[in-house]
């Protein structure tokens, strides 16, 4: 396996002014704060975490949709962090994104054909060739060819997401960031889109970063899964290993929070208590040491003083937690 996309110490700080008119200078929101991560060619890397943990920002940084504050992004072994707009353009063909909201992500004034062929035109394909590519893409995503003449409002949420997928794939990218691609869809339609993404991956040899908060969907589609908390990746492992043997207390709590699948599993009394209390802290002033220590059921004195480094927790399994002994050297 070789890494198609790599992040090294990747960081994104947003300047926010939340101090009111008396405070001086900007306050910094640490959305992504020193992430090392690699996405292997051909895999689906699931990325999970609560809202505000920085997972969408990380996805956008990796495909250079927004500038990073520090760190490096490597694509196919090449450092693309500082590439200018012109040098970046050929790389962009290979990196695309599918957005969460199929209603907001499509221009309501453009026909489906125009929407899907726009990326081709931008990258210099002639109109006639682009138009025939649109037909092929519609077949691939399971929409009738007649859809080309119609407008986004004529389609349901699931069909719109198919249009969004066609637009992302028309340039034959290698890497696609899927940012919560099914969470805005009706439950009975979600499975269709998940199956479509799986089929297209096999057919076109795609590599996915699959961002979602639904741990069931992530388990189904992913090869490996990374867990983020307040701008940091706290655990990453092969998916079966992560779900069967979560090592980070945060991962354990996330998995325990997933609703049961049958009423017979219902817990009563003290057993019923939710595994985590309170909200995710602010990324403007993240807790010292391990960022999870304010909510962690196993917190120790060292946790608030020292930030735990990533350490191996088994084969192809890494975790950032003081409970796990770091291996020397």
């Amino acid at each position: 396996m070789t890494a198609l996309v790599q992040a090294v110490g990747l960081t994104k700080h947003f300047e926010v002014e939340s101090g009111g008119w008396l405070s001086r200078g900007g306050t910094v929101l640490r959305a992504v704060d020193g992430v090392d991560l690699s996405v292997e060619a051909g895999e689906t890397l699931g990325l999970v975490g609560e809202s505000g943990c920085g997972k969408s920002t990380l996805g956008r940084l990796l495909i250079r949709l927004m500038p990073s504050t520090a760190g490096d992004i490597l694509f196919d072994g090449r450092n693309i962090t500082a590439l200018g707009a012109k040098a970046l353009r050929p790389v962009r063909r290979s990196m695309q994104i599918v957005f969460q909201d199929p209603f907001g992500a499509l221009n309501p004034r453009m026909s489906v054909e125009d929407i899907i062929m726009e990326p081709l035109l931008i990258h210099g394909t002639r109109a006639a060739a682009a138009r025939s590519a649109v037909g092929e893409m519609l077949d691939k995503v399971g929409l009738p060819r007649a859809a080309a003449e119609r407008f986004p409002h004529e389609f349901s949420g699931g069909q719109r997401q198919r249009i969004g997928i066609a637009r992302a794939l028309v340039l034959h990218p290698k890497f696609v960031v899927c940012d919560e691609p099914v969470s805005a869809l009706d439950v009975s339609v979600q499975a269709q889109i998940v199956n479509l993404l799986t089929d297209l991956q096999a057919e076109l040899g795609l590599t996915y970063l699959f961002i979602a908060h639904d741990l069931g969907v992530v388990k189904h589609i992913s090869t490996r899964v990374a867990v983020m908390y307040l701008g940091k990746v706290v655990e990453i492992a092969e998916k079966r290993d992560l779900y069967a043997r979560p090592l980070h207390p945060y991962t354990q709590a996330l998995l325990k929070s997933v609703p049961i699948t049958h009423p017979s599993q219902r817990k009563r009394g003290a057993e019923r208590k939710p595994p985590l209390s309170g909200d995710i802290p602010s990324a403007i002033a993240p807790p010292s040491g391990c960022r999870f220590h304010t909510r962690c059921p196993h917190v120790m004195p060292v946790c608030s003083q020292q930030e735990p480094a990533m350490r191996p927790g088994g084969a192809a399994h890494a975790v950032a937690c003081h409970l796990i002994e770091p291996t020397p050297g």
Partner: protein
């Protein structure tokens, strides 16, 4: 003891394409202290049912074509606006999906809770303040007294939903309607809010209608379940029976298409097609054009909601045959 009984409720909305029904012939009863889950996706009519019970349907464009809603012996559809308003709060309260748009952004959360209390009770400002703080503590807002002066935008999504619950519960309603109360929230916060609703049910003995598209939320909370599709009830059953022995293909589909943490499969079982828009519902059984078991007879007429015993009803003409 029956607290709420909805019978043959049918409502319609005026649209550009003429009048279309939002819900048709919805009937169910709810006992004190019971949790009823209503499952449905967009356009199923689940929120319209809730708004009709609350007396909050915008009329026009909405219109109630028939049926009755009896709450504690009173027919709600014949109540005056004023009488209905008195009932909201101490009688029936509701929490909505969007905690941001449901709170007034220009008033503090304390003001909004106190306003609710004073709308229904003669109470001094000081006592109302104390009750509001107490309620915020109950729903798990830390340092409640100091948060009373916060505005909604200063709170996180989970905290806003807690405040919505505080407003809904401060007059001790006998019925709480929660419309997708956790859909906008993370799983960790969802677990907390569901736990809180069940705790308050145990403490106050209130009945709860929980509306959701998430079968996991139903599995966690409901005693009985109503499954709705395109404006009609397609199945109703006690919760264990529904999960063990679903009789309608739509219910089976919903249970099967969501990937769980336990199972592993190469492909998800998908329900083909899309939800029909109200003006484009297929003839006969509305699920027929997406149903793998549909036969010609399914398109002939609306299937009746047949009784299969033990409180289990399903509207599918092939239910008995498919059960095996």
């Amino acid at each position: 003891m029956t607290l709420l009984s909805v019978e043959h409720l049918t409502t319609a909305f005026r649209t550009e394409r003429g009048e279309v029904t939002a819900i048709e012939d919805i009937s169910f009863t709810l006992d004190r202290g019971e949790v009823m889950g209503i499952v449905g996706e967009s356009g199923s009519g689940k929120s319209v049912t809730a708004l009709a019970i609350m007396g909050l349907l915008p009329m026009p464009p909405a219109r109630i074509l028939g049926g009755s809603i009896r709450f504690d012996g009173t027919d709600l559809l014949t109540l005056s606006d004023k009488a209905m308003q008195r009932l909201r709060g101490p009688g029936i309260a509701m929490v909505f999906q969007e905690p941001m748009t449901s709170l007034n952004p220009v008033f503090t959360i304390g003001d909004q809770i106190i306003e609710t209390i004073k709308a229904h009770e003669r109470i001094s400002e000081r006592d109302a303040f104390a009750r509001a703080v107490q309620m915020l503590e109950k729903v798990g807002i830390p340092s409640a007294a100091t948060r009373m002066t916060d505005y909604p935008h200063q709170l996180s999504g989970g905290q806003r939903q807690r405040v919505m619950l505080a407003i809904a519960l401060v007059c001790r309603p006998r019925l709480l309607i929660a419309d997708e109360p956790t859909t906008a929230l993370d799983v960790t916060i969802q677990a907390q809010i569901l736990d809180l609703i069940l705790d308050l049910r145990d403490e106050f003995g209130m009945a709860v209608i929980i509306i959701t598209h998430n079968m996991g939320v139903i599995a966690e909370t409901a005693d009985r379940v109503l499954v709705t599709y395109a404006g009609r009830v397609v199945e109703q059953a006690p919760v264990n029976r529904l999960f063990d022995e679903p009789l309608h293909p739509y219910t089976s589909g919903l249970l099967a298409c969501v990937p769980t943490l336990e199972q592993e499969q190469d492909r998800l079982l998908a329900i083909p097609g899309n939800l029909p828009e109200p003006a484009r519902r297929p003839p006969g059984c509305r699920f027929s054009d997406r149903c793998e078991h549909a036969v010609a007879a399914c398109r002939d007429g609306l299937p009746p909601l047949d009784d299969f015993g033990a409180g289990h009803r399903a509207a599918c003409i092939r239910a008995l045959e498919l059960r095996r």
